[in-house]
Amino acid sequence: MIPTSFDYIAAKSVDDALSLLAKHKDDAKLLAGGHSLLPAMKLRIAQPKLLIDISRIKDLNYIREERGQIRIGATTTHFQIETSDLLGRVCPLLPEAATNLGDMQVRNKGTIGGSIAHADPAADWPASIIALNAEMVAVGAKGERVIKSDDFFVELFTSALQPGEILREIRFTPPKGRFGQAYMKFRHPASGFAVVGIAVSLTTEGSKCAACSVGVTGVAGKAYRAGGVERAMKGAALDGKTLAAAADHAADGVEPNSDLFASGDYRRHLAQVYTRRALETAASKAK
């Protein structure tokens, strides 16, 4: 539990952080909340020579609405999301997911950008990122680029961010009209991470589901979109039987993880059960 020696620089701005990254390349790691990086360093799994602290850059920390879009700065903490009035109003999925994340100390320090850039396959945020069809704004030497949520989570602990890039912002268009959202999670009893985590955001028209998006975390090597569930839900009635039938597609085409606590079969089953429950909760909120 003793890390290797490293240097530390608190970046003053995003440009400052970018130039430090360009200079130190693979020797450097960005530090935001530190809740994934520091434990990895203590176990010497990560041995960066330099930490570039971006948590003090003020213009990376915000939650705001602009031209119908919600924009969240990458170093916004879980606690800020949990307690955001704006999000509570237009996208309660995120505050709800935040309450499921770690404990109060973790939520006070950990950041949404740090979490999704780490791309832990059992982290909570990726499910919501996918369910909201969010876009990630990355900034690098050549300027900004936008990465769609479906492209962002590449594989185990690998996001689409390139070396030298910094995740600047998460943005999405909140649901319009009548909508319902839910995040349902089966916590691992030791780690508290998601054995299964299901985020649902759906809109309704009359008594039917107009559109539904479902993000799944914890089940596979990376968070994914449950496309089969989404297709089955589009235009479907919101009765229990229909929701259950849709939820059965939660792990279609997926090779579920297997570990000491839960086998692949069990995880697949849990994904289906938790998807049904999340759909039911979201549907009831939309009424």
């Binding site: 539990m1 003793i2 890390p3 290797t4 020696s5 176990l43 010497r44 089966f186 691992h188 009893p189 030791a190 780690s191 508290g192 991470f193 000491l260 606590f261 839960a262 086998s263 069990y266 089953h269 849990l270 059960v273």
Partner: protein, 802 residues
């Protein structure tokens, strides 16, 4: 007058410093010029060491010394084992590995450097060439003659075999109408004290004295052993257990690191510190439990138990720590539970495995006993289609006292009224109504389970004849010239709250305020020899020593009071002595003898007895001034006692768990948790509740979550708290607690002890509740930890079949 405090739930005097972060654990003690030690530990479960190359590590700037087994294994005595079983094999347990490594975490080298970062960096520079050997992981397979052998000179992995118990077990089982058999597993558990181990050693070359601060439950026993290991006079070793952040038995031990740190300080002439990391703690601090058992219980058709046999493979790990081989013998002692069983037999096969040693973890062998007898009773109830409560009641002895209930395990229980605790718990639970509700819920397809455990445990360890190193405890009570009271206890509280409860005992005896007392423990240079805190003995043995020392002290104070009051006899109440015939009137809170800042010119005021009464504080002053004391009396006012109990004590109780299982996911949800515990006289019910809460939580962890898992190669797969599930607040139900009070005849206060009750009584209740909930699927037993996937598989299969 000072209000009586014994029996009152007063808040712990320890808490303000703990809550405010003002306490001093080993790591909080900073000495100038301190070096830091880090250990290189084996990454293999079983391997031959071909070579160790430390040359690069030694050259790293800041590294002061690198020690390997070759350097010091023969210069430091073996890690001690205090337990002895006839014909047991004792491996030569050196502080560092020499020719072979025996478990993942086995220390191979120690680096001492200017700081812990350099020491840790140097660890990566040590090159060890291993020849990996097949690992022995399962305690039952370890006994197989075909198994690889860990300690080659023993020729097998069997550490010892032992048969215990009384009565003709063969005849008893033959006479039974039914014999129920089952395999029962007790997984390995990690004690997970919040504060891991830690040692700070400082050698004073001029004085030739070594001071060792170590996070231990047994400062004096540890000092004796470490002095022997290092070959230094015991009176030149001062051992201090500063604030200790929990132990649960894991610090009732003497570890290789304690001696090695002392050695390193003696060699370097500088203070040396080591603080265990959590991963090290999982690998190299003792584990608990670890038994694979087979039960056979015989019963008559009416439920009368005729005999009970327990054949068990007990997992020792690769070496013995302080009490490793003794733990299964405690299981054997308690197999009768709280039932009349005429014949009992335990056959232990203790085996070496390529794992960390097992040893005492909260309950230490007794939870295993309670678990197997309680599971056996439930299996019998299921077999006979009897209510598990009725079966238990049928086999209870009548309420008893005077150490009069003899078991076929050779014990005499001190006192018990098992019916009363059961009745109270049933009433709190509204048991008949619960069963009614369960029937209704079942008809709706819901899986509700009710589990009842009636337990008895053995604690207040104990008579010296039954203990490896003394079963007594010591106390000194003295009243300082200013009237303040100091208690020196040989017990070594580390979270139990005895600074508060011992002060309560003394405050009531002396008629002073709790705040006028201080309780000192853990420093061998200050406190007379003591045994320590474990086995739920702190209050029953250590508290009794305090109580008896107080009687001695009051006797002397009374003689001095009679002298000063110029009367034959005195009586003592509310902190004041007065002539025996008269009563102290207008007794009030005793004023401090020396109000702060008012002592004239640093001198002390003369005692001023009114002629009718004199306070104990005034007596203390008179005793120290010694100007007017009886000619045959020694000055000063202190008394020391070494209390030797004549028997163990046997606390008991009833725990009831009510759970509901989510049939879709197999998750277990608690509906209620009821416990009635009888720990004899309660000094402080708040502390009793705290102990019960913690014990139930650890039981709950054992029943549903916890298991130290080594894979087939002996790799520790639950090496962090990300994998090993310790219960958190969100896992824990609301506890409905009450108690009965059956005084123990073993000590004058009637105290039994409560430190381990929760961890003994709760596990079987929780498992029974889950089994009961699953009984519609034909389930009669489930092994711990009961994971949701297991339940889902059972439910799923049956649902598919139906």
């Amino acid at each position: 007058m000072a209000e009586k405090t014994v029996g009152k739930p007063i808040k712990r005097t320890e808490d303000p410093r703990l809550i405010q972060g003002l306490a001093h654990y080993v790591d909080d003690i900073k000495l100038p010029d301190t070096l830091h030690a880090v250990f290189l530990r084996s990454i293999y479960a079983h391997a031959r060491i071909k070579s160790i190359d430390v040359t690069t590590a030694q050259k790293l700037p800041g590294v002061v010394a690198v020690y390997t087994g070759k350097d010091i294994a023969q210069k430091i005595g073996p890690v001690p084992c205090g337990a002895a079983i006839p014909e047991m094999k004792v491996p030569d347990h050196r502080v560092l590995a020499t020719t072979k490594v025996y478990w993942v975490g086995h220390p191979v080298a120690m680096v001492v450097a200017e700081n812990k970062y350099t020491a840790r960096d140097a660890i990566d520079l040590i090159e060890v060439d291993y020849d990996e050997l097949p690992a022995v992981v399962d305690e039952e397979k370890a006994a197989d003659p075909k198994s690889p052998v860990i300690h080659e000179k023993f020729g097998s992995n069997i550490a010892y075999k032992l048969t215990a118990g009384e009565g003709d077990i063969e005849a008893a089982l033959k006479a039974a109408d039914k014999v129920v058999k089952h395999k029962i597993l007790h997984r390995r558990l990690a004690p997970i004290a919040m504060e891991p181990r830690g040692v700070l050693a400082r050698y004073y070359p001029g004085e030739q004295e070594l001071t060792l601060w170590t996070s231990t439950q047994i400062p004096h026993l540890c000092r004796t052993q470490v002095a022997l290991m290092l070959g230094i006079p015991e009176n030149k070793l001062r051992l201090i257990a500063p604030e200790v952040g929990g132990g649960f038995g894991s610090k009732l031990n003497v570890y290789a690191e304690e001696a090695m740190l002392g050695y390193a300080s003696m060699q370097t002439g500088r203070p040396v510190k080591w603080i265990e990391g959590r991963r090290e703690n999982m690998q190299a601090t003792i584990h608990g439990r670890g038994q694979t058992g087979y039960i056979e219980i015989g019963c008559k058709r009416d439920g009368t138990i005729t005999g009970f046999r327990y054949n068990v493979f007990a997992d020792m790990g690769s070496y013995f720590q302080l009490l490793t081989p003794a733990i299964p013998t405690l299981t054997g002692l308690m197999l009768s539970g709280c039932y009349k069983i005429p014949a009992i037999q335990m056959n232990v096969t203790a085996t070496f495995t390529n794992k960390m040693s097992t040893d005492a973890y909260r309950g230490a062998g007794r939870p295993e006993a309670t678990y197997v007898i309680e599971r056996a009773m439930d299996l019998v109830a299921a077999e006979l289609r009897m209510d598990p409560v009725e079966l238990r009641r049928k086999n209870f002895p009548a309420p008893f006292d005077n150490n009069s209930f003899k078991t076929a395990t050779g014990l005499f229980y001190d006192s018990g009224n098992y019916q009363a605790a059961l009745d109270k718990a049933l009433k709190m639970a509204d048991y008949n109504r619960l069963r009614e509700d369960q029937r209704k819920a079942r008809s709706e397809g819901r899986l509700i389970g009710i589990g009842v455990s009636t337990y008895v445990e053995i604690c207040a360890m104990g008579p010296s004849s039954a203990m490896p190193a003394g079963g007594w405890e010591s106390a000194t009570v003295r009243i300082e010239p200013t009237g303040k009271v100091t208690i020196l206890t040989g017990a070594s509280p580390h979270g139990q709250g005895e600074e508060t409860s011992f002060a309560q005992i003394a405050a009531d005896q002396l008629g002073v305020e709790v705040n006028d007392l201080t309780v000192i423990h853990g420093d061998t240079a200050v406190v007379q020899y003591g045994i320590g805190t474990f086995g739920s003995r702190g209050t029953a043995v250590g508290g009794t020593a305090v109580y008896l020392a107080l009687q001695k002290l009051k006797e002397k104070a009374g003689k001095l009071a009679a002298h000063l009051l110029e009367c034959e006899n005195v009586s003592f109440s509310d902190g004041k002595f007065c002539p025996a015939a008269a009563k102290a009137k207008g007794a009030s809170v005793p004023e401090p003898v020396v109000p702060v800042g008012q002592a004239p010119g640093g001198s002390l005021p003369e005692p001023n007895p009114s002629g009718k009464q004199i306070s104990i504080q005034e007596i203390a002053l008179a005793a120290h001034l010694a100007k007017n004391i009886p000619p045959d009396m020694e000055p000063g006012l202190s008394a020391t006692t070494f209390f030797e109990p004549k028997n163990f004590t046997f606390p008991f109780g009833t725990h009831i768990a009510v759970v509901e299982i989510d049939p879709e996911t197999g998750q277990v949800h608690f509906q209620r948790y009821i416990a009635v515990d009888d720990c004899g006289r309660q000094i402080n019910p708040l502390l009793v509740h705290g102990q019960i809460h913690g014990g139930i939580v650890q039981s709950l962890g054992q029943a549903l979550y916890e298991e130290v898992v080594y894979d087939d190669q002996g790799q520790l797969t639950t090496g962090t708290l990300m994998d090993y599930a310790v219960p958190r607040a969100a896992h824990v139900p609301w506890f409905e607690l009450d108690s009965t009070e059956t005084l123990s005849p073993v000590n004058p206060m009637g105290v039994k002890g409560v430190g381990e009750a929760g961890s003994i009584g709760a596990t079987p209740a929780i498992v029974a509740a889950v089994v009961d909930a699953m009984s519609p699927f034909g389930i009669r037993h489930l092994d711990m930890p009961i994971k949701p996937e297991n339940l889902w598989r059972i439910i799923n299969k049956k649902a598919g079949a139906a």
